[in-house]
Subunit: 361 residues, 2 copies
DNA sequence: GACGTCGATGTAAACGTTTTCACCAAGGTA
DNA sequence: TACCTTGGTGAAAACGTTTACATCGACGTC
C-alpha cells in the first residue's frame, strides 16, 4: 500500500519546515507569498490531507462526534442520525455510531469504543437518563454530552461530574408528556371512551413512559379509567403484537401506540383479528415517520422534526465544545415543537360498540 | 474537565514503566505475577482505557471502519448499517458514517472525513462503481474497500491502485438483475401484460439499473414491449410520485418499483388516482423492508438479508485487513441469495382491462 | 546608530501509544 | 568457569500533527 503522504513529505517537496506546512494548511500564522505557493503546489501534487489521528493527538481533541441511539432501524432515529451527520459534516466533523438495542445494560459497552476514540462530544438517546451508566461514564471521561429525545434529567454523579459534563444536562427533546396528552385528547374528541395504550417497554424508554403519562393525564381529566399499558419489545416486537387479551377484556375503540412503528404493528395485529381500521378501531402513534403518510389509511400521529433534532443536537454539541474552548452561548435545553398530524387511522368512535359499556350517569 | 488518564498515570501508580503497562493491557510480552497484579490494580483504580488515537498513531492503523451509504433513512441501508455496526463492535471496531444523498458528485467529499481518520477499511455503496471518484480516492489512499449492494466492477485506476485495493474489488451484493427477472416473471405469471417500471434515477444507482435490466429481460423474453422506466428522485421523490402520464399512456395493470420505499410511494400515488391495489393495479418492489410486511395489502417484494449483508461486509473487510497483515482467506465476492416474497399487492391481472389492448394473435 | 517591532521561518517539545532494543539476573549447558 | 538462553524490565524511538519558542532580517523611530 502506498503509505499515506505526511506533512513531512510535503515539507520536503516544498523545501521548508513542517511548521510552515501546518501554517498553510490550517491558515494559522504568517507565510510569505512564494513559500505559500510552493506549499500549496506540493499539497496538491501529493494529494496531501492531514491525518486526523495525528491532529487529534496533538490537539487532545478530535473532530469526531459519537452517537448512541437505541437502533438505527427505527426511522425516527435514522432521521435524527441523517440530520446529525449532515450537520456534523458541514462543521468538518465525523460521526461514530453505536446502538444499545433498547437495552439499558448494553449502553455502557456500546459507547466504550466511542469514548476510546476521544470524541469531541457525544449525543445519546438512553433508556433512562437518571440511571444511565453510559451517561455517567461519559461524564467521568469529561466528554460533553447532549441527550436526544430523552427527558431532561439532573446532571449525573457528584462534583467532578458536574464540572465534567460542561453545560450539565444539555438536551434536545420534545414535550413527550404534553404530546401524549394532546394526542389522547384528540382521540377522546372523536368520541372514543375505551382506549388502550401499546408501548415499548418502559424500562427501555423514558419517552414511552412520558407519552403514556400524558395519555393517562388526558383520560383521567376526562374521568375515564386507565387500563395498564401493554408493553412490547421495541426491537422486533412490532412484527407480532398480540392484542387478543386486550381486545377481549377492554374492547377498545382506539389504540394509541408509543411510536409509529408500533402503531403500524398494531394495525397489522388488528387486521389479523378481522378488525378494520378505523371503522372498528382507531389507531394513532408518535414520531411522524415518513412512511405513515404513504400507507392507507394514513397514520394519525404526533409529528416532530426528527431530522432537525439531529441537526440541532449537533449544533448544540459543537457550541458546547466551543470553537476555542469559550463558554457555550446557546441554551442548554431545546424542546422542539410537535404537531398532531391527523390521519385516516383516526375516526369517530363507532356508535354500536358504545352500547355494551356501562354509561356514565 | 478531568483529563483522561493515560498510560503514564497507570505506570506511575504501579511504579513501573509504560512498556510494562502496555504489555499487560494488550497481553503482549512477559510480565511477572506481582507486577502484573500491581498494574491490573492501577488500571482498575484509575479506570484506565487506552486512547485509540494514541494507539492508532503508533500502529498506523485504526480500529475504525468507515461506511458510506446513499442515505441512512432508507430502511434497507439502516438494516445494513445495524448489522455492520454490530459485527464491527463485536470485533472491537468503531463505525464512522457518511451519506452521499444518492448524488455521485457528493460521494468524494462525503468520504473525505472518513479517509482523514485513517480507518482500517471502508464499506461503500456508491452510485456507480465503475466511475466512482470516492472509490478511486480510497484506493489511492491505500484503504481496503468493500462494495456493498453494488455490482462488482473492475478495480479502479492503474497499477498502484490494484496493489492498494487489496483484494481488488471485494464486494458483498445480490443478484440484482436476476432478481429483476424473477420478479417480473412472477408478475407476468399473474397474467399482467402491461407493466410499468418506476425507478430511482439510474445515475444514482447501479442497483436500480440492474433491476430494470432484469425486468426488461423478462418482458422481452415474453415477447412484450418494454416502456421506458419512470425515474424518480430517490431522496424525497417517493412522497409525491406522479403517475398521471404513464397511467394515461400505458394503462399498466402492474407497476414494479426499484425499491420498496418507491413501491409504497407508488401505492399512494395510485390511490390518489382512485385506483385500488391490487384490484386495479398490482405493485411490487425490491428490498423486503420490514414495514412492507405490516402494511395492507402486504407488499410483494424481493427480499434479501440486508442486515446479514452488513454483517458480511464487516467480516469481509476485517478479513481483508487481516489480523496480522496476513493474506485474506475468504472469497472476495459474496452474492447473497434472494427470495420472492409474495404479498397482497400482487394479484391476477384484472380481466376487463385486458380488453382495450391489442391482443397477440 | 541603537533599539524595538514585526514578519517569516525553523527547531523542538508535546500529545498517548506500541515496539525495538538493551540490560540484568537467574539458570542451564559445555 | 565461560557461555548461551530466557524471563523480566526499562529507555527511547517512532507515529503525524500543532504550537511555543527561538532566530533572523528588514524596517521604522527616536
Amino acid at each position: 500500500m502506498p503509505a499515506a503522504t505526511t506533512i513531512k513529505d510535503v515539507a520536503r517537496r516544498a523545501r521548508c519546515s513542517i511548521a510552515s506546512v501546518s501554517r498553510v494548511v490550517n491558515d494559522s500564522g504568517p507565510v510569505s507569498g512564494p513559500l505559500r505557493q510552493r506549499i500549496a503546489a506540493a499539497v496538491a501534487e501529493l494529494d496531501f490531507s492531514p491525518s486526523e489521528v495525528g491532529r487529534s493527538l496533538a490537539l487532545k481533541r478530535s473532530r469526531t462526534i459519537g452517537v448512541l441511539v437505541p437502533s438505527v432501524t427505527n426511522p425516527v432515529f435514522a432521521d435524527c442520525l441523517a440530520g446529525l451527520q449532515d450537520a456534523a459534516r458541514r462543521a468538518g466533523h465525523a460521526v461514530l455510531i453505536a446502538q444499545s438495542n433498547y437495552e439499558a445494560g448494553r449502553e455502557a459497552e456500546a459507547i466504550a469504543p466511542l469514548i476510546a476514540e476521544r470524541p469531541a462530544g457525544l449525543v445519546l438517546t438512553v433508556c433512562d437518563p437518571a440511571s444511565s451508566e453510559a451517561r455517567r461514564r461519559a461524564a467521568a471521561a469529561g466528554i460533553p454530552t447532549v441527550l436526544l429525545f430523552n427527558e431532561p434529567a439532573p446532571a449525573v454523579g457528584t462534583e467532578i461530574d458536574v464540572e465534567a459534563n460542561a453545560g450539565g444536562g444539555a438536551v434536545v427533546t420534545v414535550d413527550n408528556r404534553g404530546a401524549g396528552r394532546e394526542l389522547a385528547a384528540a382521540v377522546l374528541a372523536r368520541g372514543h371512551r375505551r382506549l388502550a395504550f401499546v408501548a415499548g417497554r418502559f424500562e427501555s424508554s423514558d419517552r414511552a413512559r412520558a407519552r403514556f403519562e400524558g395519555f393517562r393525564d388526558a383520560l383521567t381529566a376526562a374521568g375515564l379509567p386507565v387500563a395498564p399499558p401493554i408493553e412490547i419489545d421495541f426491537l422486533d416486537g412490532a412484527d407480532h403484537i398480540d392484542l387478543t387479551e386486550v381486545l377481549a377484556r377492554l374492547q377498545p375503540t382506539a389504540i394509541v401506540a408509543s411510536n409509529d412503528l408500533l402503531a403500524i404493528g398494531v394495525m397489522a395485529a388488528l387486521r389479523r383479528h378481522g378488525l378494520a381500521v378505523p371503522q372498528d378501531v382507531s389507531v394513532a402513534g408518535f414520531d411522524g415517520i415518513a412512511i405513515g403518510r404513504l400507507i392507507a389509511p394514513s397514520l394519525a400521529t404526533v409529528e416532530w422534526p426528527a431530522r432537525a433534532m439531529g441537526t440541532a443536537a449537533a449544533a448544540m454539541l459543537l457550541d458546547l465544545v466551543g470553537p476555542r474552548g469559550g463558554k457555550p452561548t446557546a441554551a442548554r435545553t431545546l424542546r422542539l415543537p410537535h404537531l398532531i398530524r391527523p390521519g385516516g387511522t383516526l375516526a369517530d368512535a363507532p356508535v354500536t360498540s358504545c352500547l355494551p359499556l356501562e354509561t356514565s350517569p
